[in-house]
């Protein structure tokens, strides 16, 4: 749905060059919620602003819904008619909401429809429908200044949906909100994604956001995407920074002669009660040192750190059992390479 290839953005200011994006290849599938996470300055803001060409990329292409936007951009800094039409089919929500203070909530939602040249009747019907969808039907005549942050962002979302977009860009939409409100806004985005089949590209610096709504995620550092994939793919990648950040594990071995194993659940294997099976089959006591399990897309995914009695040599068979179940196993404190299938 959204594809960028070789996207590069270089800012020039007072003779200095800053590379904000350095050859970013991003692929967002239709109907998924895709999160780009990174620290401030990583280039994620430039990335999302390049997707609808609010920022002109220095090089590379952006394709949204099969349309090459970079080809529509033309040369000058002004957006031509075709680019403006393409933009009207991409919704965008902002960290600071960016609502017009001089307009009522309803009039704010109607603004994109005015730009599309819809009639007054159609505009107000659509606006009220959208306000109902985001749960603000009773605030239509209020001004943004009279709303709370969460309510403002709901108006921002309703406004972004006014042009019936297939794609929604979310530029740190929850970063100015408290945790409670953040959850409710994320739940709303998730609902819209499911109900309307909306593809959502969001950028954030909060791992919780990715964890709670995203099907896929990418980690950005210094203008590059260093890791990307669906949450299960990331989990399946040994040494994935995103996976360990999404599913952080703690806990140290409780003594000598113990084997500490990180078990990663993803896909089919996650549906079986493997730990109790392991315990029963081999008659061993298993301590759980830490666990981070979540339900993502209806499947249980996550990681668990367990401790088995005895050294690694004593536990080759139980570990083999776990591997057979299709789980990914990482041995801790074993400085040798992560032990391969059926080794030793």
């Amino acid at each position: 749905m959204i594809t960028t290839s070789g996207l590069t953005k270089v800012y020039r200011a007072r003779g200095r060059e800053v590379t904000a994006l350095d050859g970013v290849d991003l692929h967002v599938r239709e109907g998924e919620v895709y999160g780009v996470i990174g620290q401030s300055g990583a280039g994620k803001s430039s990335l999302i602003r390049c997707v609808n060409l609010l920022e002109r990329p220095t090089a590379g292409t952006v394709t949204v819904a099969g349309q090459d936007l970079t080809a529509l951009a033309g040369r000058g800094p002004r957006a031509g008619k075709e680019l403006r039409q393409a933009r009207s089919r991409i919704g965008m929500v902002f960290q600071h909401f960016n609502l017009l203070s001089s307009r009522t909530v309803q009039d704010n939602v109607e603004l994109p429809l005015e730009i599309l040249g819809k009639s007054g009747q159609e505009r107000s019907r659509k606006a009220l429908e959208l306000l109902d969808l985001v749960g603000l039907a009773d605030k239509a005549k209020s001004y943004p200044a009279q709303l709370s942050g969460g309510q403002k962002q709901r108006v921002g979302i309703a406004r972004a949906l006014a042009g019936d977009p297939k794609v929604l860009l979310s530029d740190e939409a929850t970063s100015a909100l408290d945790p409670e409100t953040t959850r409710s806004i994320l739940a709303l985005l998730r609902d819209l994604n499911r109900q309307l089949g909306l593809t959502v590209l969001l950028i954030t610096h909060e791992m919780d956001v990715v964890k709670s709504v995203c099907d896929s995620a990418a980690l950005m550092e210094n203008g590059r995407i260093v890791e990307s994939g669906t949450v299960s793919e990331l989990l399946a990648t040994p040494g994935s920074e995103l996976a360990s950040a999404l599913f952080p594990l703690g806990g140290e071995a409780s003594g000598e002669d113990r084997t500490v194993v990180d078990v990663t659940f993803q896909g089919e294997s996650a549906t079986q009660p493997v730990i109790s099976q392991l315990s029963r089959t081999y008659n061993i006591d298993i301590s759980i040192l830490g666990a981070a399990i979540d339900t993502v897309g209806g499947l249980q995914v996550g990681r668990m750190r367990i401790e088995l009695p005895g050294r690694y040599e004593d536990n080759v068979v139980p570990i083999g059992f776990l591997r057979e179940k299709g789980l990914q196993i990482d041995l801790l404190g074993h400085d040798s390479e992560p032990v391969k299938e059926g080794a030793k």
Binding site: Y11, A13, V18, A20, S40, G41, A42, G43, S45, S46, N52, L54, P77, R78, A79, R84, Q85, A86, R87, S88, I90, M92, F94, H96, F97, N98, L99, L100, S101, S102, R103, L111, P112, E114, I115, L116, Y143, P144, A145, K152, R159, G163, L169, A176
Partner: protein, 235 residues
Amino acid sequence: MTWSEMQPLLEQACWDTLYMVGWSTLIAVAGGLPLGILLVLTDRGGLLQNLAANKVIGQVVNIARSLPFIILMVALMGFTRSITGTTIGVEAAIVPLAVGAIPFFARLVETAVREVDHGLVEAVQAMGGSTWTIVRKVLVPESLPSLISSITTTIVALIGYSAMAGTVGAGGLGDIAIRYGYQRFETQLMWITVAILAVVISVIQFAGDYAARSLHRRGAHSGPAPKLRLLKAAS
């Protein structure tokens, strides 16, 4: 001078002043509003960035602003005559008043429009709005309270200028104060004109402040305080 002698004089002078100030305000707004918006749009990082045009407009505005009004009035006599056919009278005074007020108002508009949060401009760009849409639906309505204050300031300044125009035969309250109050020692008449001017200016200032405040009250801003963003921040 008795009151019955003064009354028609004052009445006529009031109308003349209102006429001069009213028309020149209208022309100043019509000319200064687009000029002020252009100053913002053509500036670095603006939607119509054109630094050469920005420099030229800025210089013209600065030069016009730096001329004392009385000199502008004399310098423009030829121009005034070509438009109104005369350099004397109320109509003739409107020309230099308007020409003087356009750059004055344009600078005030520029300041007001710059205060509009750049995020709002971006939001409308992201919706597919054109530059013209942004001007009509964002820049002007969002800066309306400040624009109204700017109009108030311009009217008050124009009342001051119009008194000067009065000295070269334009009529109005300034003319009365000079010709009768100063030259004929009609102190009473002079004080009455001073009082009228004070009342008129207070009323205008009050009305302007009230209008600006009532517009502002419903709005405040969405999100945090609008930032003055002249340059696009990197990333």
